[in-house]
């Protein structure tokens, strides 16, 4: 009997929990309300089934418990009842499946007026590309990717020239305008996920995947990665800002284009080169530049710092230590961080650029005893 009582409590509590639970859908900010609707239909049907089956079980346990007085009924089967139950179940299944597939059909057919925006994922950051004035994204290939061409765009393709490249972690979208995200990955699987948008899809290296969404609420939302992509998976974050078309345009016009990146002054300063490398090689996925804690030591005020190593010794962060940390990161690990950094192949010139950039983030004195100053680019 206790068992029956506990079951009743569990069933009732489960239903009550649903209504009092503080954990529910994030507020919808896109056109995919129908997904929520299908989810609710499914929830209602399954909840009814759960309660019905649960209470039936409780009824049987109470009514037919062993009391010494009665005997079980002998009824091997009842084909009619079983077919009837199968029929009812089928109806329930169809009630969930049919509307679900109808909404899915919308999902796989983007509207003709959707603008294309490219999402590029890499370990462990996001970058984005807008088509620019000609309305078309230029072709790209992973084989074209270099430090100077992190998107791997095809420089011969005229459509690439005006593509707007965004390597910072901010994606802007105009409100109420359908967007088709065309997505690719440079390395492993990722997944572009904004909970408030509901729609999401994997980024697959070697192919282009896509889904569409219309943002319907202005605001700032978080972009997360939703496919395990290594140890930095939980930290692969970005922001999407949905704003009025006017605000969007003004932001867009301030962004850099591909052609501008190609014609960048070849006498670019060492510091800016270092900054580019840090972005394109994914260093910033683990090393922050503003002092915030991350997977790896922050570069803010790193240069000249007395660093505690994993083997208990101390070291002053200087040019040589920085070089070694790039070429052979596990040689002198900083205490408290996992040994997961891979060895990078940088030329001497690139190493100098990295050192310069790191110095510029520090207010400590450098090798020459002079306080580091930020070079003007």
């Amino acid at each position: 009997m206790a068992f029956a009582v506990v079951l009743i409590i569990l069933i009732v509590a489960s239903v009550i929990f649903h209504f009092v639970s503080p954990w529910w859908f994030t507020p919808l900010a896109s056109n995919w309300g129908p997904i929520d609707d299908i989810l609710i239909i499914t929830l209602v049907i399954t909840a009814v089934v759960f309660v019905a089956l649960g209470l039936f079980m409780v009824y049987c346990i109470i009514r037919y418990r062993h009391t010494g007085g009665h005997r079980a009924h002998y009824e091997p089967e009842n084909k009619k009842l079983e077919w009837w139950l199968s029929g009812v179940t089928s109806v329930g299944i169809i009630a969930m499946l049919a509307p679900g597939l109808a909404v899915y059909s919308d999902f796989v057919h983007p509207p003709a007026n959707a603008t294309q925006i490219e999402v590029v994922g890499q370990q462990w950051r996001w970058s984005f590309r807008y088509p620019g004035g000609d309305g078309q994204l230029g072709t790209a290939d992973a084989l074209n990717i270099t430090d100077d061409n992190p998107f791997g765009l095809n420089p011969e393709d005229p459509h690439s020239q005006d593509d707007i490249l965004v390597q910072g972690s901010e994606l802007h979208l105009p409100i109420d305008q359908p967007v088709k995200f065309v997505m690719r990955s440079k390395d492993v699987l990722h997944n572009f996920y904004v909970p408030q948008f509901r729609a999401k899809l994997d980024l697959v290296p070697g192919l282009v995947s896509s889904f569409w969404v219309t943002p319907t609420k202005a605001g700032e939302f978080e972009i997360l990665c939703a496919e395990l992509c290594g140890i930095g998976h939980y930290n692969m974050r970005a922001k999407v800002i949905v704003e009025s078309p006017g605000q969007f345009q003004s932001w867009l016009s301030k962004q850099s284009t591909f052609s501008r990146s190609l014609t960048r002054d070849s006498t670019v300063g060492l510091i800016e080169q270092g900054q580019q490398l840090a972005e394109s090689r994914g260093c910033l996925a683990c090393h922050s530049v503003d002092g915030s804690p991350s997977l790896a030591p922050t570069w803010k005020d790193l240069y000249g710092k007395q660093e505690q190593l994993a083997d208990g010794t101390q070291i002053t962060v200087d040019d040589n230590y920085l070089k070694e940390s790039i070429l052979a990161p596990n040689a002198k690990m900083v205490a408290g961080y996992p040994p997961v950094m891979v060895a990078y192949q940088f030329s001497e010139q690139q190493l100098q650029a990295m050192i310069a950039y790191t110095k510029s983030l520090s207010t400590r004195p450098g090798d020459d005893g002079q306080p580091a100053t930020r070079e003007e680019p």
């Binding site: 954990w23 089967e77 899915y104 440079k186 390395d187 290296p205």
Partner: protein, 596 residues
């Protein structure tokens, strides 16, 4: 009990030494216990790994852990639980012990290969555990081992861990094939006189079908594992596309990560039914025995098992709705996935209809069986959310998925494992498990796991992603979610520790438990009719048993005892009719509802 008088009187070749009796044993019962104990030990390791994970999620920073270790624990926990515990226990443990006894065979048909199967399994476990001790540690790629990340920079264990994992899986698959050949061929060939297919208990049907699934599905894991090994060690590009890994363009090109997913899930989905179908069969038998009532709709139950088995091969891509595969596949797989819900639902109805008008004894095995039904209903229903492609889009890779698969594969089948052990322990050892300890174990486990996984679904509704080491400063995740995580952790630790009750019970009762007679539950199926308890080598003595009926003649009208073992003929009962199903049904309808 009748024996075939024309059965060959066999000279049974008994193993003589301690080593041939208990170590290099070809006896299916010994092999079963070897499998089960190994599976339980390795399962406890995985339980500890889950406790470590929960500590990080519930109380971040309480123990020192980095993301790398977290992902390694997560991967090993998943792989051990699914393959090395559940599959090995249901097929190698329960399958080995129960099949020959339930079909009336002396042993499995290929005892030497059966023995090898265990030792290969043990070897696969050792190879897997060795990955904790190699440079770089075990793989942290997630139990699904998706390329490219499984063998690329940025994932733990790519030096040696992933290689050992894949090699271990290959060895396990060899072991599973050797065992599976035995289980299938024994059911086909070695049933005793009168044991037709439709007189086998549903436990046998469940394990039989699960074994067929295993034999057909494991090759897919084998192929994908070998191909990934090639990609890792030989530089091939089965799954590896052009990649710029940590700034380096790699040598691979043209491979397809999605191809791996197709191969993996072609195995992976039947795998969950390899775990579920034996559980279904066992639950049917436990409920039937302890409710003193035939399983309702036996034939439909058999057909449902077969239908589920067949359908399980055409639903795999519901694990890939957001994988970037051809979107039109979504329509097909959502349909087949929701279709498979129908025979599954039928089984649930039939379990409940078995209870209806039954004579229910709430013994410990029965408690576990009923708890299975409830938790399986929850877990199965949440599967409908995920199977319906459009609903899966927001829910995939969130805690909704984690809650779903733990409920339906972790909680429900494990409850059956416990119930089954409490049920068959007296046959295996000749002693009963302690009832009080059993009830405590039951209540803590059932309520605890329900409290852990039911609320977790709502974290999924919220959108909280899975496989995250930490959740710092996400605006959309309220602080209360962290409180729930802490609650879940505490509950999980309690449930984990409570399993000690079970282990202590197992060990203590083996030597000091109340002595049981050969059929303490008064069950009808053949394994309870062995001449000795525990059964000796050869199971049946000099002569093979003869079976006259199905295994569900409980509470037959016109019969004084409320159960009739399969080996009792109608003549012995004093029933003069031809004793077929329909005359019994007519008799009961004529005499009205249950007799008091």
């Amino acid at each position: 009990m009748a024996y075939a008088e024309d059965a060959e009187v066999v000279e049974l070749h008994e193993p003589q030494s301690f080593v041939t009796k208990y170590i290099w044993s070809q006896d299916h019962k010994v092999i079963a216990i070897q499998y089960s104990l190994t599976a339980i030990v390795v399962g406890l390791i995985a339980l500890v790994l889950s406790a470590l994970m929960r500590m990080q999620l519930g109380f971040p920073g309480a123990i020192e852990m980095d993301a790398s270790s977290y992902y390694q624990y997560m991967t090993m926990h998943g792989m051990i639980m699914v393959i090395y515990l559940l599959t090995a226990l249901f097929l190698g443990g329960f399958g080995n012990y129960l099949i020959p006894l339930m079909v009336g065979a002396r042993d499995m048909v290929f005892p030497f290969v059966n023995m090898l199967s265990y030792w290969f399994y043990l070897l696969s476990v050792l190879v897997l555990l060795a990955s904790f001790f190699v440079p770089g540690g075990p793989t942290g790629a997630g139990w699904t081992l998706y390329p490219p990340q499984a063998i690329s920079q940025g994932t733990p264990g790519i030096e040696w861990g992933i290689i050992l994992m894949l090699v271990s899986l290959v060895i396990f698959i060899v072991a599973a094939t050797m065992g599976g050949l035995n289980y299938v061929t024994t059911v086909i060939q070695a049933r005793t006189h009168g044991m037709t297919l439709l007189r086998m208990p549903l436990t046998v049907w469940g394990i039989f079908m699960a074994t067929i699934l295993a034999l057909l599905a494991f090759p897919a894991l084998f192929v994908s594992g070998v191909m990934m090994l090639f990609d890792k060690t030989l530089g091939t590009s089965f799954f590896m596309p052009v990649m710029v890994s940590m700034g380096q363009t790699l040598d691979h090109q043209g491979g397809s990560p999605v191809l791996f997913q197709h191969l993996f899930w072609f195995f992976g989905h039947p795998e969950v039914y390899i775990v579920a179908l034996p559980a279904f069969g066992i639950v049917s038998d436990i409920i039937s025995t302890h409710a003193r009532k035939n399983i309702f709709g036996y034939k439909m139950m058999v057909w449902a098992i077969i239908a589920i088995g067949v359908l399980s091969f055409i639903v795999w891509a519901h694990h890939m709705y957001v994988s970037g595969m051809n979107p039109y596949f979504g329509f097909f797989f959502a349909t087949t996935t929701l279709l498979i819900a129908i025979p599954t639902a039928l089984k649930v109805y039939n379990w409940l209809l078995t209870l209806w008008r039954g004579n229910i004894h709430l013994t410990v095995p029965m408690l576990f069986a009923l708890a299975f039904v409830l938790t399986f209903v929850v877990g199965g229903l949440t599967g409908l959310f995920l199977g319906n492609v459009i609903v899966d889009i927001p829910l995939s890779d969130t805690y909704f998925v984690v809650a779903h698969f733990h409920m339906v594969m972790g909680v429900a089948p494990i409850l059956v494992v416990f119930g089954a052990i409490y049920h068959w322990y007296p046959k295996i050892t000749g002693r009963m498990l302690n009832d009080t300890l059993g009830k405590w174990h039951f209540w803590i486990t059932f309520l605890g796991t329900y409290l852990i996984y039911f609320p977790m679904h709502y974290l999924g509704f919220l959108g909280m992603p899975r496989r995250y080491f930490a959740y710092d400063n996400y605006a959309f995740i309220p602080d209360s979610a962290q409180s729930l995580n802490a609650f879940i952790t505490v509950t999980a630790l309690i449930v984990g520790i409570a399993q000690l009750l079970f282990l202590v019970n197992l060990a203590w009762s083996a030597v000091r438990g109340q002595k049981a007679d050969s059929n303490p539950w008064r069950a009808t199926s053949l394994e309870w009719q062995t001449p000795q308890t525990p059964p000796v080598h050869g199971n049946w003595g000099k002569r093979m048993p003869v079976v006259y009926r199905w295994p569900y003649d409980y509470s037959m009208p016109d019969v004084e005892e409320d159960f009739v073992p399969q080996t009792i003929s109608n003549r012995e009962l004093g029933i003069s009719d031809n004793g077929d199903l329909h005359s019994h049904q007519q008799a009961t309808t004529a005499s009205g509802s249950d007799q008091t």
